[in-house]
């Protein structure tokens, strides 16, 4: 038997301020990043940019766009999706033309990669070459490797980039030179560059999905923006729509982050198709290639470092990715779009950088390396 409960009915029986309790604990666990703005050139309008902490930057960017609406700052349209309309910002970049390598050369290189056949290691390959077996086509007649070689050769020769990608991916892993060669087999317009912004690493919402693709020598950027987390299903649906007809994904760390997060978010909403769609596409995650190519030269292989050190690009007014969650929260709290514009711009820089790194990276940079 429970004793009669008195107390203030408005306090709802036993609940003592649990909203404040958890808000305080969540804030403790995720404070505003204390990191300084990393570039002296950033926020030139503010004196002593180096010393600014997140809260100051936030105040500054909020003030810059105070009272403005998003559609006064960007060309905003609505994309219709089964999950409702999705706010969409489109733009085009002329200075990142497509460059995906020569498909003939790629096919030649793949044809000579005897190691793509299971069981053929460096030792066998050398012995086979010495005995005159130059290509996979030659190897199809081999008594021991013939059957497997026929399968591999079929995939590489058929002109089906998807099949070639998966043969190499399964045999060589995500960072191999031969895998990078397969990119040249795809039509430039078949790639979808993807970069997302979220409120954290796991279990939290995606608030912006940015995609880019080549069309007529231009890089077309499309950004699906959530005005609140309630828009997230529409974002996911818009991406699924956008990916139809695309043959390959390009990301920076998307194997570990973007794609699993998108799958988790789609699964969260019970959007089963969307949860599976991206995982099935060939996926070039540049972080793996970049590490193999430039690890020794750059130390850290973050996208911004590569852009700055190898491409000579310095992003004006960009903010570190760690600022995205608190900036979005600030936007949610008072509706001021200033912080959101910085997230949008940051994402656009990331997408442009992704395409630039893609065109900069050559198979030669990846060296020759063993299979397996």
């Amino acid at each position: 038997m429970t004793a009669e409960t008195g107390g203030d009915p408005a306090s709802g029986g036993r609940i003592f301020g649990v909203g404040d309790y958890w808000a305080a604990r969540l804030t403790e666990a995720a404070p505003l990043p204390a990191a300084d703005v990393p570039s002296a050139d950033a926020f030139p309008a503010s004196p002593g940019g180096w010393d600014r902490r997140a809260a100051d930057v936030l105040a500054l960017v909020t003030a810059r766009a105070r009272g403005r609406r998003l559609d006064q700052l960007y060309p905003v349209t609505d994309t219709a999706t089964p999950e409702g309309p999705c706010r969409t910002i489109r733009s085009s970049l002329a200075d990142v033309p497509p460059a995906t390598g020569d498909p003939h050369e790629a096919r030649r290189e793949l044809a000579g990669a005897l190691e793509l056949v299971w069981g053929v290691g460096p030792w066998h390959a050398a012995a086979l070459r010495a005995a005159g077996t130059r290509t996979l086509a030659d190897l199809t007649h081999h008594p021991r490797f013939g059957v497997e070689a026929s399968r591999v050769w079929g995939a590489v020769a058929a002109g089906n980039p998807d099949a070639a990608f998966w043969v190499v991916r399964h045999r060589c892993g995500a960072s191999h030179r031969l895998l990078w060669c397969t990119r040249a087999l795809f039509d430039p317009s078949a790639f979808l560059f993807v970069d997302i912004e979220t409120l954290g690493f796991s279990g939290v919402a995606a608030i912006l999905i940015g995609v880019a693709e080549w069309r007529d020598h231009m890089l077309d950027v499309t950004q699906y923006v959530a005005e609140s987390v309630a828009d997230e299903p529409a974002l996911l649906a818009a991406l699924a729509q956008h990916a139809v007809g695309k043959q390959a994904l390009v990301t920076f760390n998307g194997l570990a982050f973007d794609v699993p997060v998108l799958a988790a978010r789609a699964a969260y909403y019970g959007m089963r198709e969307a949860a599976r769609s991206l995982g099935a596409l060939p996926h070039f995650d540049l972080v793996h290639f970049a590490r193999r190519a430039w690890r020794h030269r750059l130390g850290d292989c973050q996208a911004v470092t590569i852009e700055r050190e190898l491409l000579g690009i310095v992003r004006p007014d960009d903010l570190p990715g760690a600022y995205v969650p608190p900036f979005y929260e600030a936007y949610q709290q008072d509706g001021e779009v200033g912080p959101l514009t910085y997230i949008i711009d940051h994402n656009r820089w990331d997408l442009a950088g992704l395409a630039r790194i893609f065109t900069h990276l050559t198979p030669g940079a990846l060296g020759s390396c063993d299979v397996g």
Partner: protein, 764 residues
Amino acid sequence: MSVESLLDTLTQRAPYRDFVTHVEERPARAARDGRLAEPLAPPLEDYLARRGVTLRVHQTEAITAIRAGHHVLLTTPPASGKTLAFNLPVWERLLADPAATALYLYPTKALAQDQWTTLADLARAVPAAVAPAVYDGDTPTGRRARIRAESRLVLTNFYMLHQTLAWAHQWERFWSHLAFVVIDEAHVYRGVFGSNVALVLRRLERLLDAVHASPQFVLASATLANADEFSHQLTGVHPVVIDEAADGSARGRQHFVFYNPEALGPGVTSPHQETARLLAAGVEHGVQTLAFAVSRQLAELVARQARDTAQAQRAPWAEAVAPYRAGYLPAERRALEGALRDGRIRGMVSTNALELGVDIGSLGAVILSGFPGTMVSARQQAGRAGRGVEASLVIWVPFADPLDQYLARRPALFFGRPHEHALIDRDNPYILSGHLLCAAAERPLDRESAARWFGPEADTALDQLQARGLLRETPRGLVYQARPAAHQVVALDATGLQPTVKVLRDDEFVLETMDWTRALSEAHPGAVLLHGAETYVVSSLDLTHYVAAVKKQRVDYWTDPMTKVDIHILDERAAREHEGVRLSWGDVEVTERVVGFKTRRGDEVVAQDALDLPPVTYRTRSLWFTLPEEFSRPRRLEHANLFGGLHGAEHALVGLMPLWVLCDRRDLGALSVGHHPDTGAATIFVHEHAEGGIGLTERGFERAAALAAATHELVRDCPCQVGCPSCVYSPTCSNDNVPMDKGVAIDVLALLTQLSAEEDPSAD
């Protein structure tokens, strides 16, 4: 050299015989075999035949019930073969349905690992791809995807399950074919941890519902008075209960000895000294002996005393005695368990860390040093003696404290008392709201399903979480929109919200870890810390980096923290009053501050030092007695007498409360004041330590009649003159039991007894 000769020594030889106040004998019992209507699947029958195992009647009952699709709770005694009883029907299903999966949940990683060995063995014996696998914090990342993709039997713990639910989509195969949820040692899941576990299970059930899976629950537990109510609170289902009455396992004769150090009067000897002496006697008689101590410190202390005794006598077995407790590193613990199993260790002193089913083989004798706080624990610990049909001995050494002495004088109550009620409170606002955040982060949460899975209190909590912007209403339901991930911040024990303090030895080795509150009272600068039967002195406690630095140093003193407690009443939620005495129950804010510590050598305080440490403040539930002004006036009581009376009554009340509510004494705090600003009168508080409360004081409020009557009887009948640790003194009292007035305490308690007489007599 045997259990019988050890018993003879205890009952016939000095000095032991003077302390033996009661011997209870439980006769040996023959096995009762059971029969199944249908034999088991042939590979399982073969497995049993190869091992020469015959199923007993409680096992066949369990198998029959599980085969029939019922949820089942097994509460037969320790070592009765509960594990086999549920493994067989679970595996039978896994064999029959090649997609079916089973989830096994254990309270600790060590237990899961231990049970995996058994299950892996079973897997080798049957022709089915089951691939039993442990999936916990220690599972290498590289193996996880494969376990998720292939294993059909996953062993884990609730901490891991809590985290894993955030990634439910990766487990779609496993969840959607889930046929069984096995919860071993279920009685452990009570109080704060149990309330959290119950809510993790509701989250799991909600996600399973979405993939149309509705598994059978199979629980194994120690005996509880409220087995059905408890199982239902924990899992939401009503199981078929297979209890002691159905037990068909064979059992050897067991002697249960009460060995009361207080028998010759207070202060003649100490229970720790006697425990060490009994442990030595056991080892000398060639009986492998395990002593259970009530705290980490005492486990270390008793082991050291036994070892010192042996060394003084140049006995060869000094090195064969070791302490065991939580806080040791896993490898250290595995090594100790192994040494106990293979007999290299002859005597061990353990905390309740060995109470659960870690395989340590059979022991000749078990010593319970102090009442472990609950009959459930006492039974579990005693059950460690005499696995199989050999005779065994259990020795209980009661402490000089109210609960122990109350029971020591009432063997009939000790052996006949119905077991305690295990309490789970799913409505604790902090616990509930944390799990609502997690649930909303796992799958959008609509109000209707929130009420279905999380109870009627969920709605109000959701309002508050939504108002604070942590959740957002969307067409699909409430969505988690805060950061970081809810699962990162919501912890399953009350201490999880606190920082963890590392104890660093010589600035280098992590000796152990402890939570913040514990560190403030046990690892403050100057504190003596025991680890591995060695003493360490704390040189500093870093409040910003959460590091306590210690140096190994052999010292002959120990330290006791002094804590100052303040209570502020927030809301009186229920009350009863009689002739100006008022019993209340409600919400309070407690502030505790460690203000200093005492250094003791033996029983003597040799130094007292002040400390400047931050306070810990929390909101919780309390019951409190307010005395009328008329109580002190006609008696012309001095302030010191009044306070001494309140103080004594407070100690005795808290001491006996665990008899009615299944909790550790540590779960409760108390305070008595001659004049409390919120009541304007003399007041005794008994409050909970868990933030938000978990129903302990609510139950105490309901049972106040029985509590006050028993406490009054205890103090009145205690033979001491001015009070002693068996009645009104508390060993942990910050004020060293000053002031104290036993006579006034009896009057106070008599008054409380009157008050409570109005209560419904059927309440207990």
